[in-house]
Amino acid sequence: MKNKIIMFWAIVILAIISIVIIKVKPIPLGLDLVGGSRIVLEAQTTANIPTIDNDTMDGLKAAIENRVNALGVSETMVQRMGERRLLVEIPNVADPKYAREIIGETAELDFKKPIIENGNVVGFESSGLSGEDLKKAEVGTDAAGKWLISLQFNLNGAEKFAKLTREFLHYPIAIYFNGENISQPVVQAEITGGNAQITGEFTHDEAKKVVDFLNAGALPVPAEIIEENTVGPTLGADSLHKSKIAGFIGIAAVMLFMLIWYRVPGLIANIALIIYSLLVFAIFKAVPVTLTLAGIAGFILSIGMAVDANILIFERTKEELKSGRTLFTAINSGFDRAFTSIFDSNMSTIIICVILYFLGSNIVKGFALTLAIGVMLSMFSAITVTKNLMHLIFGTGQLKYPAMFGLKESDINQAYEAAETEREKAKFGVLD
């Protein structure tokens, strides 16, 4: 009995720790619940770069990270995914279109020099001065209040720019961004300080976008969006709200069922279920598991399955009581007999979760993880919490009030004889 009381307090302490963790740590919510963009990019080979190696991917990842950070939202994520892919997650993004633009474009800045024939400009060709020669870019305004982009070159770039302006004094230079001519100023004087300004008909947002691109750097190779999932914040909030309601209704319905069908043991199972829910959420927060819609579904499903262990045990205990056993031996053998089926059935679910976790997509991974944690903890809660409370509440005597188990007086001694080995008899505490 002493062990049982120690165990009881251990469970109470565990529950308190769980409550503290739940109170203290916030739970990270998935993009489908807070709203945001999840984009998969694939690096594309070009004529110059026919194969994609690790260095290229690292360069691409760094450039994308810079751009995503320029959005100024917290908890963005850029992750390698396989050999040629990047997974980009941007939560709370107000304008998914902007996110798509900012990571999809190569952002090549190219200063083109004029091709001059007989004193006339007949076309433009690359001058060798590009975005790589930039130190930084800024949005500014000119004297008339029009938006412009001011550029500051690095040493190498300043030298190239000075040479370009010297060579083509009084001729136009074309500035191309992503293959589009955004400005075509005429050189008025040789510029040696390494500073340049791009004027044109820009709005502030357009200028800002070009500046963000230039500061983040060009992508080493073009990247193509091959998968995108963007959820607006209203839909996300709606899903979260509905999942919470569904969760509460689901749990309440299960608890009511257990109470009506199994009476006092049902009440114990409900206490075990509450402790189970606390433990699951504490572990979710401690790991931490990002909660997605599929993850919540996995958790709610695991509640239905968590009571399964209790149901198996109670049905078995009832049978043992029907065969005329004392409470103590009936509870012990009920647990022991039910254990093999609980173990084998839960193991098979865990095996499937492992396979899902390693083979599934990201959504599937979240589901598998929450379900696996749920199944493991449900075994723990049934075997320790329920058993402990059953022994503490019912003690060791004969069953005086069969109604406590939802049984009738006439049910007792009506079941088949209990068959068991000598070893099991000793284990359950059967005296005959």
Partner: protein, 326 residues
């Protein structure tokens, strides 16, 4: 007074009516199988199910709208979109609202093909068309998948399901016997075939498409179904240990099913209670997922009580007959 396992109150006689149970399974599975064959023959993708953009590639745009939309209006949206260079738009109305106070009343879902370069242009075009008829429309979800990625997902899903089945056969062979493993897998196959068949029918009649969540749901059904079957087999295993000399194999199977009957039904009920809550009160995104699970739990319970045990008894009969011959 002493009772033996043979005196277990028989609510269901699985052995006596074994052919009836097998016939019921056959009737349950037949429409789905026909729908699957018909689908393979008629769909351009030649798949037994109507597959969504996760598998074929494509773009789905969803707009929230604060009013009800009639069939005529859907037709108008379709024509307007086609006139604006949106290829083969598929339009569906999703109803996520559970109460009048909900912020989102209706969701218009528009499916079109995946465009590599013109993604933003496509979205702008569709948004323009929708906004002209529904000024309060808001783009709430964009989902697009490239065609190559879809194929990979399909292959990965098949690998995942095959591996799961293999792992379960190995585990059950180790913990039980080979025949239990084979029968459990046949029961799994039975359950999956039923659920896939029902969704094939939904695809034909309501245009329900399946996505990667469907595969997850099917795998969860696998886990749940084997869970149920194992509980009954565990009882057969235990009873065989104590009564194999006193009772016939058939009697033991019958008694085991009836002893675990209350548990089988109650566990399914509690799971169905939570799934029902998710279906009726949960988000619109997981509705189909939950429906797969509900169908899976119901058929899984049926197969663990009737189908699996009928098969295990039949298997044993044949083994006995062979022995007698030899």
């Amino acid at each position: 007074m002493s009772y033996s396992v043979l005196d277990t109150k028989k609510i269901i006689d699985v052995i006596k009516y074994r052919w009836l149970w097998l016939a019921i399974s056959f009737i349950l599975l037949l429409p789905g199988v026909i729908a699957m064959l018909w689908s393979v023959k008629t769909y351009p993708t030649h798949t037994p199910l109507l597959v969504g953009i996760d598998f074929t590639g494509g773009t789905i745009l969803q707009y929230s709208v604060n009013k009800d939309i009639s069939t005529n209006e859907i037709g108008k949206i379709r024509i307007d979109l086609s006139n604006n260079n949106i290829e083969n738009p598929v339009i569906q109305i999703l109803k996520p609202a559970t109460s009048e106070n909900d912020s989102i009343k209706n969701i218009i879902s528009i499916k079109t093909k995946f465009s590599k370069d013109g993604q933003n242009e496509t979205i702008d075009e569709v948004t323009k068309v929708i906004s002209s008829d529904y000024p309060d429309a808001q783009l709430v979800q964009v989902n697009s998948v490239g065609p190559l990625l879809g194929k990979q997902l399909f292959v990965n899903s098949l690998i995942a399901i095959s591996l799961a089945l293999l792992a379960i056969v190995i585990y059950l062979t180790l913990r039980f016997h080979f025949e239990f493993a084979v029968v459990a897998c046949l029961a799994l196959f039975h359950d999956v075939l039923f659920v896939v068949g029902v969704f094939s029918l939904f695809g034909l009649f309501y245009g329900t498409t399946i996505d990667s969540l469907f595969i997850t749901a099917i795998l969860t059904v696998l886990g749940y179904s084997v869970n149920n079957t194992i509980v009954v087999f565990d009882r057969v295993r235990e009873n065989l240990k104590f009564y194999s000399k006193k009772a016939t194999y058939d009697e033991i199977v019958n008694a085991s099913v009836n002893q675990t009957l209350a548990r089988s039904i109650n566990t399914s009920l509690t799971t169905l209670l939570t799934l029902g809550a998710l279906y009726f009160f949960g988000g619109v995104t997981t509705k189909d997922f939950v429906l797969v699970m509900i169908l899976g739990v119901i058929i899984g319970t049926y197969s663990s009580i009737f189908f699996a045990n009928t098969l295990i008894a039949l298997w044993n009969d044949r083994a006995q007959a062979k022995k007698a011959k030899a």
